[in-house]
Amino acid sequence: MTPTTTTTAGGVQVVRPTVASHVHDYWGRVRGGDLGSLPAVLGLILLCLIFGIARPTFFSAVNFANLFSQSAAVIFIAMGLVLVLLLGEIDLSAGFASGVCGAVMAILLTDHGWDWFTAIPLALATGLVIGFGLGFLVAKLGIPSFVVTLAGFLAFQGILLVLLSGGKNVSIRDTFVLAVANNNMSAALSWGLAVVAVTAYGVVQFMRIRGRAARGLVTEPIGIVLGRIVGLAVLLFAAVAVLTQERSINPLIISVKGVPIVAPMIAVALVVWTFVLGRTTYGRHIYAVGGNTEAARRAGIPVDRIRISVFVIGSFMAAIGGIVAASRANSVDPNSGGSNVLLYAVGAAVIGGTSLFGGKGRIMDAVIGGAVIAVIDNGMGLMGFSAGQKFIFTGLILLAAASVDALSRRRAAATGNR
């Protein structure tokens, strides 16, 4: 398994990658300060072990399913924030933007008797409008995003109060909307989707390798690719196996089993945005603007339009988060999207490995970071810690993640990696 050189594309000598060299390169990048999601994944495993040993119910199927519905809203909002953070900007208004969008939907459904298929699009459109407003102010007027979205944070909180006529609680009775965060898929559908997902992932991976090999380009070692596919299959099938067990306390009255509907929703959002960021010109330009705005401008990239668009996407994802949160709570109140929602969402993105300095991050970070936060919240709750203690611990974890980001940046600068 010694790395040998090979010629690729036009005769440039490069090192032929093997499994060993691949692992070695990865370790080199980690040592060089490019940690990615590694600390978050290790932290997640560690936290799960601690909570699982301290409270065996942590590993029960009921609790596992709870983690999904508890974290879904935050993960959606965090996905939007990853895009905003990639430009080195911040959206502090995402929490209350999600609350406003959720309230728009709830009021249309309950007070005006609209159907879900008209109320949900209007709530999503509200998100788009909010994002365009924020992005326009940041990109065209040049106001720092911190200030614009801080103003939005306050203003949207006010809009929410006005919409709810000073603080009433609007409950949701629409069965479709309630199903989003509270219902599960049938066992057959759960297994079917898992098999489709793994197969599709495998096909895409092998197609890419074949396409590159056909042109004489360097390909990833087959062992690494197989490892990834098998890894995904094991994780997905294990999760589905746990979630398709009976979770009801009394199965004779009502049966609760299957994968929560929010799980495939998160998966679809993850695939869509990962595709956009990694495989389209638009995504490439987001990374370019985040990495070196001046270089992007000189390359003819419409920097202002990119900047506006990430705020639009950010608020759109916040709207989805708001709808999921409203569905889970069965209602909307003046505190929807308030308290810890925004901080958990920013925390999820940063803990997952997205840099606060722009240019570095993936959509997957939002999912991993969101899982870490949900596990802390859930596990500490099971162990009987108070809300105050949970906030303190989550704050410390966020601080640790931000320190890792800042320190790895310094290390990267020192090793010439950035």
């Binding site: 690729t8 360097v218 389209t280 490439r284 985040g290 270089a295 240019g359």
Partner: protein, 268 residues
């Protein structure tokens, strides 16, 4: 060498408000040759380059490209003609890899999706044509490259688009001895591949090492454009510092004449 210039500037004037920065400047760039553009700070080198690359518009004068008179109003016009500029700060994104940087803003797509194999292949071909054999992988992040390698990527990015004139702004200013030699070798190779190369430099050793012709600017005027083999080191230094050297350069009365024209409101 070739008799007709690929790019020829004649009588270029450029003012910023009352300050005239370029004054009847001429420059000829021949294919297959390196033309060094020298001059002291404020002599107008950068302004001239920005006029050619379309960032500034010229007030007067003609630009002839490949025998046809052309008007360059934007960087896009310049790229369309095949004129590329490698700026001193290189304009690379550290968080992207070599291929991604080379195609930045001009990505190849198949439908909606980026056509990575084609881009990687083209990038590889271009690097190979420049005899670059020092990268570990085309997918290496630019952040992990040395200064000389970054300069190489920036230059390769400029020649990727069948460009015909490449303008390099101080390519060796931030490099060590070995890397400077590498980059100069690359500059020479660009010219040997038939491109017209303009090298802006303060370093006389670099200029004499690779250039075929030297154009010296002095206070916004062309002091002289000469063949490198016809002049000495000290003559060029004199051209840069005083605008003339023996029978070369501006006539003696011209600089003071120029100074007299400087007050606000002066125009042509």
């Amino acid at each position: 060498m070739a008799a007709t210039p690929l790019l020829e500037l004649r009588g270029i004037d450029k003012s910023f408000g009352p300050v005239q920065v370029l004054h009847d400047v001429g420059l000829s760039v021949y294919p297959g040759e390196v033309t060094a553009l020298v001059g002291d700070n404020g002599a107008g080198k950068s302004t001239l380059v920005k006029c050619v690359s379309g960032i500034y518009t010229i007030d007067a004068g003609t630009v002839t490209f490949d025998g046809d008179q052309v008007a360059i109003h934007s960087p896009r016009d310049a790229s369309a003609l095949g004129i590329e500029v490698v700026y001193q700060d290189l304009a690379l994104c550290d968080n992207l890899d070599i291929v991604q940087n080379m195609f930045l803003g001009r990505e190849k797509v198949r439908g909606l999706v980026l056509d990575e194999p084609t881009m990687e292949q083209m990038a590889g071909d271009t690097l190979a044509s420049l005899s670059v054999r020092t990268v570990k992988s085309l997918r290496q992040l630019v952040a992990s490259l040395s200064g000389g390698q970054r300069q190489t990527v920036a230059i390769a990015k400029a020649v990727l688009w069948n460009s015909r004139v490449v303008i390099l702004d101080e390519p060796t200013a931030a490099l060590g001895v070995a890397q400077t030699a590498q980059v100069l070798e690359l500059v020479r190779r660009l010219a040997d591949n038939g491109l017209g190369v303009v090298l802006i430099s303060h370093n006389m050793n670099d200029v004499f090492a690779v250039s075929d012709r030297i154009a010296a600017l002095y206070l916004g005027r062309t002091a002289a454009q000469v063949k490198t083999s016809d002049v000495t080191h000290s003559q060029i230094v004199e051209l840069i510092t005083s605008g003339r050297s023996g029978n070369l350069g501006l006539p003696p009365e011209k600089p003071s004449d120029f100074a007299a024209r400087m007050p606000p409101g002066a125009d042509r």
